[in-house]
Subunit: 369 residues, 2 copies
């Protein structure tokens, strides 16, 4: 993705081959800053504090984290500790675990001396594959958007999105935003309603930044506004990402997604979820009981981060001193509210049948009820 005159991914190995570099998303949109991670502890901290976030990018970053650990100590113990340590950083995203398992299986049978390099190569492959997967998600989603555009005789297609499932949530392109970028580039008139997405404001800080950088028309709204917009006919479709989708099509995504899905159903607005198949938890059926929901710090709720007049970033207290707060980071949207899943292999119903039709190789053991 282009920032000014430079193409960026969200993560890349350093030139010296002993570190990985990331865009530090905690300073966006105010400051564009690159951060170098040399130790697995730095990788874990970057994931935990959301310097990198978004299910696909978390997986890619963790894969490099194992590589960094093995560079210092390629033993079985080190491999095991790295996987455990990184898996604990964020409990909801399923492809964090998927990426860690993939690196393990790529290196565990190798002699110690070859492990770090193999982990590094696997991480790079995960990144390249993610870019390709997101591109295909974008192509499939763009078909849906073109249909709406045609039905509207070329009038602007208004898309509502929640949180950030753009290129900053992946290695490049994004999931929910990929169809938007591709439609816009293909000349389809698109406008995006951007939910600010409290408490971390990924919509205001990341999605608005991305869409602005790419030149896609967009309007920021508070999380409370989407229902009203749908009721007034101002939204043609919703597209969101996901951190974990069950085999039955229940979708865990950033807190608040469920409320938008309810409003979409109440107003007959199509509600799509864009996902790489690596975010499917093939072992889980019911999302409400089967997906662990991360609880984050209450301070994220009692404060807001922003820029003051002189450009400095500050956290301001918005609640009375000592006010108790509760901060679940995700919620589960039941499959019955989801119009379709946009995957790298096409669009399917949010159901076991839909997913197993597109991913028949998963139709066996893991899909057993």
């Amino acid at each position: 993705m282009r920032i000014g005159d430079t193409w960026y991914r969200t993560i890349w190995p350093s030139d010296d081959g002993v570190a990985v570099e990331i865009i530090d998303q905690t300073f966006l949109p105010h400051v564009f800053s690159v951060r170098r991670l040399e130790h697995i502890e730095e990788v874990a901290e970057a994931i935990r504090t959301m310097r990198v976030r978004g299910a696909p990018l978390i997986g890619a970053t963790a894969a490099y984290g194992v590589g960094l650990a093995l560079l210092r100590d390629p033993s079985n113990g080190s491999l095991h500790r790295a996987e455990e340590f990184l898996a604990a950083t964020r409990p909801t995203a399923v492809n964090l675990r998927w990426a860690l398992a993939r690196v393990r299986s790529a290196v565990e049978s190798l002699p110690a001396g070859e492990r770090a390099r193999a982990a590094w190569e696997t991480a790079a492959k995960i990144c390249d594959e993610d870019v390709s997967i997101c591109r295909r998600i974008g192509e499939h989603g763009a078909v849906l958007m073109r249909k709406i555009s045609t039905r509207k005789c070329g009038e602007t297609v208004h898309v509502l999105t929640h949180c950030n499932a753009g290129w900053l949530a992946t290695v490049d392109w994004g999931t929910a935003l990929a169809p938007i970028y591709m439609s816009h580039d293909a000349g389809v008139a698109v406008h995006v309603w951007v939910d600010e997405t409290r408490p971390r404001n990924q919509g205001a800080s990341l999605t608005a930044f991305e869409l602005g950088s790419h030149g896609v028309p967009h309007t920021l709204i508070v999380d409370n506004a989407g229902g009203h917009l749908m009721q007034r006919g101002l939204v043609d479709m919703c597209i969101v990402g996901t951190d974990r989708t069950t085999a039955d099509g229940d979708v865990a995504n950033k807190i608040g997604t469920y409320l938008k899905a309810l409003a979409a159903r109440d107003n007959s607005v199509p509600f799509f979820v864009a996902l790489p198949s690596t975010t499917v938890d093939w072992a889980a059926a019911d999302g409400v009981s089967g997906i662990p929901i991360e609880e984050r710090s209450p301070e994220e709720v009692t404060t807001a981060r922003g820029r003051v007049g002189d450009g400095a970033l500050v956290d301001v207290a918005i609640a009375p001193d000592g006010c108790r707060a509760y901060n679940p980071a995700f919620d589960v949207t039941p499959a019955r509210l989801v119009t379709g899943l946009i995957t790298e292999r096409g669009v399917c119903a949010a159901s076991r049948d839909g997913l197993s039709h597109l991913f028949p190789e998963r139709g066996g053991l893991e899909l057993a009820p």
Copy 2:
């Protein structure tokens, strides 16, 4: 309502009789500050910038505003201009217009020399009546809460509320919060989930402040979290206020209310709206088409107000420079999502039948379809 050792209303005439004093709500919860309003322009500014807000309090404040205008110029022209000027400050709240019409009808047949005093007395009467109405709303709502408490064998009743419909939104007691205060005072175990209510954060700044001052257990959440809490069985009932309710029971309230009502229905959580009958628009039937929705400044969306370390209040920018934003201040919850209306005369269905049963004197001309 008690703040420290002092009982306050939200508005009162000054001792010298030529001004009205208010609690300036734009500094809460950080600073408790009283503001003196001497001119109608100051009254309008206080309403427009939400130094006073909440449908009942807006009405009471506007009534005093007419009194201040008539103190300077008691002519018919002055009366007419004052009414027009104040009615334009907030388009959604219906009892702003009700209060203005009531003052007009109280003074228009009087000689010029008696008008200011009559307006002042009418404003005081509106305030006293509001206190009495809110007390009765509290009593009726407390019966509902006690039923839930009994069903739960005395376990804590968890109530979710949106925005602020407490004593700061009225002259005293509040609407949605009145049943909570009365239940708490009567020894019923109550806990309140407080929606922060972006963009103005009335939940975090006002409701949390009120509940904390009164000693009612409460937890602040982002607006995105309520659906998840209901899905997990953590909410026993929702109670919100309203700025305008139609004769068919559609409810305009702070933006985001509709989303919570959808989640309540999806999870079989009772959803109540507490209202003085002065907020009923007897002439309107369909809320979505019939209630004007105020649009406020985009800056409320692109910024957040809070306290920094040294105690100063600052507005921080949370979005990229130049980011477009849209800021509808209210939404409409259709009557079909409302379990009941809690009024000063009791609880009724959110319907024409329900309202006309409690308010038979309205059953004539105005209720005609």
